[in-house]
């Protein structure tokens, strides 16, 4: 870092007023940077505090929370087993990954290995547009276009179902998978490519035996990140998958996810401090923990991949 080694202000002969001003600017900027750290601490403090209060309630036990298959905090007969919400989230995420990962990887191979420069730019812009569509619009599309279409093909498909939500979400995560994987594939050194061609490899062989294995960690990172986005996605599932916590892996049933429960509970009139309102924080804490873990894993994988080529 050459910039960091620059002569520090202190060694220059500055007037006290100038020096004070410089210090003030530095302080202000430091404050800005610090605020983002404060945000994280805020999130963690809020979640941990309210979740602790939730578990401190005699009506709730850790064991019930993680093993019971009934989630009915908003009913008179309260039961707090998060499994139905986890299974719902898992179901939608799995469908989204099944759709989004192969498509994302294929488009990454296209962008990195086949597309001419001009078209690469246009396709990238197209994918960015796709990523820029508000998720509430995608939820509308899943509920009012995809579901009626699927109901003609899939017998017994509910109006609210994780299948169409997952399908549309697959397209939502496609750009994430594609852009990070494209970067990883393009980072494969050209010496490797030339060596493979020199050995008589075809382009297809080159892709499967050189580019994909060499870019593997980047690809894995992109998939993990996409998974984290799918787990945290809210509006598509709230609109299209329903709000009925059901412990099932049947993609035709109406389900609820962690995120759709949060919206449901927050838009209802739960008095602050009630057990029902605190259950929202417990769910949010679980969600936060899962996505944080996924993000850390993806960063860890990326860091390893950086070491290999720089």
């Amino acid at each position: 870092m050459t910039r960091a080694e620059r002569t520090s202000d202190a060694s220059l002969r500055l007037s006290p007023a100038t020096r004070a001003r410089e210090r003030l600017v530095r302080g202000l900027l430091l404050f800005c940077a610090g605020l983002s750290v404060l945000t994280t601490f805020g999130v963690i403090a809020v979640l941990v505090g309210e979740t602790a209060a939730f578990f401190a309630d005699p009506a709730v036990t850790f064991r019930e929370f993680f093993t019971s298959k009934r989630w009915t905090p908003l009913f008179a007969d309260q039961s707090f087993g998060i499994l139905p919400l986890l299974s719902g989230t898992f179901l939608v995420t799995a469908i989204a990954l099944v759709v989004g990962v192969p498509l994302g990887l294929m488009s990454a191979v296209y962008l990195s290995e086949f597309a001419p420069a001009g078209r690469r730019r246009r396709v990238t812009s197209l994918l960015e547009l796709l990523a820029g569509i508000p998720t509430v619009v995608l939820g509308y599309f899943a509920l009012l276009f995809v579901t009626p279409l699927l109901q003609r093909v899939v017998p017994g498909l509910n109006l609210f179902n994780p299948l169409s939500a997952g399908l549309v979400m697959g397209f939502m995560i496609l750009p994430t998978v594609s852009s990070i994987s494209t970067d990883a594939m393009q980072a494969v050194p050209s010496s490797l490519r030339q060596a493979a061609y020199g050995l008589g490899a075809t382009k297809v062989q080159l892709i499967f035996r050189v580019v994909l294995p060499a870019a593997l960690s980047g690809i894995v990172a992109s998939v993990v990140l996409a998974m984290s986005r799918a787990v945290g996605e809210t509006m598509i599932v709230t609109l299209a998958a329903g709000q009925r916590p059901l412990f099932t892996l049947d993609p035709r049933e109406t389900i609820a996810t962690m995120t759709s429960f949060i919206v449901q509970a927050a838009t209802g009139d739960q008095p602050a401090g009630s057990l029902a309102s605190r259950s929202l924080y417990a769910v949010a804490a679980t969600l936060f923990a899962i996505t944080l873990l996924l993000n850390l894993v993806s960063q860890l994988v990326v860091r390893r991949y950086r070491e290999r080529y720089e």
């Binding site: 202000l28 900027l29 750290v37 999130v43 809020v46 062989q205 787990v231 919206v263 924080y281 944080l292």
Partner: protein, 425 residues
């Protein structure tokens, strides 16, 4: 295509065991041709997702736009007359002109109408219960003014294409007193009207103003924060432990689900600070959400400013803050602006955090300050879709078209800026 490909792949290991003749001896060019075919098939196969993505985008736009039109058979509570575009059009006061025609058509005398229109209270009541709309097609005639009333009875509502196919049948089947019309749900009246429980009268104005206020506040709050953080990281911090902490923190914040930000906003801004679910609380929540976007873009832009410029400024005796204010930031402004535009686009479309902090579903009037209750376009879309009513889905799609148009303008601007200033150095 993929099946062909699979066979090629499975054949590969066998070929590795038993090396075939090198291409030089491939006299008929059979292998070379096969290779080329495989390669082309593979190239076509990996293009499929791009095509699918494009198809999805086009289908979505098409669906939303066609859903914002519908054929309706209604039983109007007023005269049921419509007026041709020229007849009703008056350069100033078309609304008044059409209302006058409508009242006359209801059988009132000229004096009564004049008296009614000059009484502000009567005008207000009429305006709250009726809406003057320019319909593309009414009773077989194109482009006509029509006065809808809050008490009109809907008899049928058909999608754009189905209604077009069956328009003759609809006209023939309409009973006396019923009107067949093509309703364009997205019109100027939609943008100018306040919220309503009746789909025909529902407007986007409160949400539009709410979204604009949110965005204005988000820009005011997130630009200094985001750019400040970026400048600190790039120009001051170097490789300190604090800088690495901030960096790690930012990349993790970018991965936090937006609904969790909503919970932070609900707990801290709405409850702890006691703001309530007002515009300011929404803007603060969205600011936390978009600051990482601004920081990433601003850092990239600042990094792209060549060091030679900085050194030259230092050589002229500038202090560090002068270098930043007069050299670094002016040269990074295009990249920073792009980042801010993308952040704004994100903030405009964000729904979940605002729902969680409790932005109201029904706000009768536009908010009049940062401390009033509010709604935003995506929230309106959500509530209208949740109404589970076919007419409200048309209203929702009209709102989506507005939302997508706004986003389209923002993205074009961002793409333009990025391309224009991409390789300045």
């Amino acid at each position: 295509m993929s099946r062909v490909l699979g066979r090629e792949e499975r054949a590969d290991p066998a070929r590795a065991d038993r090396p075939e003749r090198p291409d030089m001896l491939d006299l008929g060019g059979v292998q070379a041709r096969r290779r080329r075919t495989t390669e082309r098939a593979f190239g076509a196969a990996v293009f499929v997702p791009v095509f699918l993505a494009l198809a999805l985008l086009v289908t979505l736009l098409f669906d939303v736009v066609t859903d914002s039109f519908s054929w309706q058979v209604i039983e109007p509570r007023n005269s049921g007359q419509s007026f041709s575009f020229l007849e009703g059009f008056a350069a100033f006061g078309t609304w008044e002109n059409v209302v006058r025609l409508e009242l006359l058509a209801q059988g009132r005398t000229q004096e009564e109408v004049d008296a009614l229109l000059s009484d502000p209270e009567a005008r207000r009541v009429f305006g709250a219960r009726n809406r003057v709309e320019l319909m593309p097609w009414v009773d077989g005639r194109p482009l006509r003014w029509f006065v809808t009333s809050i008490r009109d009875d809907g008899v049928a509502d058909l999608p754009l294409f189905e209604g077009w196919r069956r328009r003759a049948e609809l006209l023939a089947g309409a009973e006396p007193g019923q009107v067949v019309l093509l309703n364009a749900w997205l019109d100027l009246g939609f943008l100018a009207k306040n919220a309503s429980r009746s789909p025909a009268m529902a407007g986007l104005l409160p949400a539009l103003v709410g979204s604009l206020m949110l965005v204005a506040l988000v820009i005011v709050l997130s630009v200094p924060l985001g750019v400040g953080t970026a400048v600190y990281l790039e120009e001051y911090a170097g490789d300190t432990r604090f800088a690495r902490l901030v960096e790690l923190n930012l990349s993790n914040l970018a991965g936090v689900p937006s609904v969790v930000y909503g919970i932070l906003g609900l707990t801290v801004f709405v409850r702890l600070l006691g703001l309530g679910p007002v515009v300011l609380a929404g803007a603060l929540t969205l600011t936390l959400l978009v600051v990482p976007v601004v920081v990433v873009a601003a850092r990239e832009a600042i990094r792209a400013v060549p060091d030679s410029l900085r050194q030259a400024a230092y050589g002229l005796g500038a202090t560090r803050s002068q270098v930043i204010a007069r050299v670094v930031l002016p040269n990074a402004i295009a990249g920073i602006t792009t980042g801010v535009i993308l952040a704004v686009a994100r903030a405009i479309g964000e729904t979940a955090p605002l729902l969680v902090i409790g932005a109201a579903a029904f706000v009768p009037r536009p908010p009049d300050g940062p401390l009033s209750l509010f709604t935003a376009i995506p929230i309106q879309v959500y509530t209208w879709v949740s109404e589970n009513d076919v007419e409200f889905t048309h209203v929702a799609s009209a709102a989506i078209v507005v939302l997508l148009l706004v986003l389209g303008v923002l993205y074009s601007l961002a793409f333009y800026l990025r391309r224009r200033y991409e390789s300045r150095w």
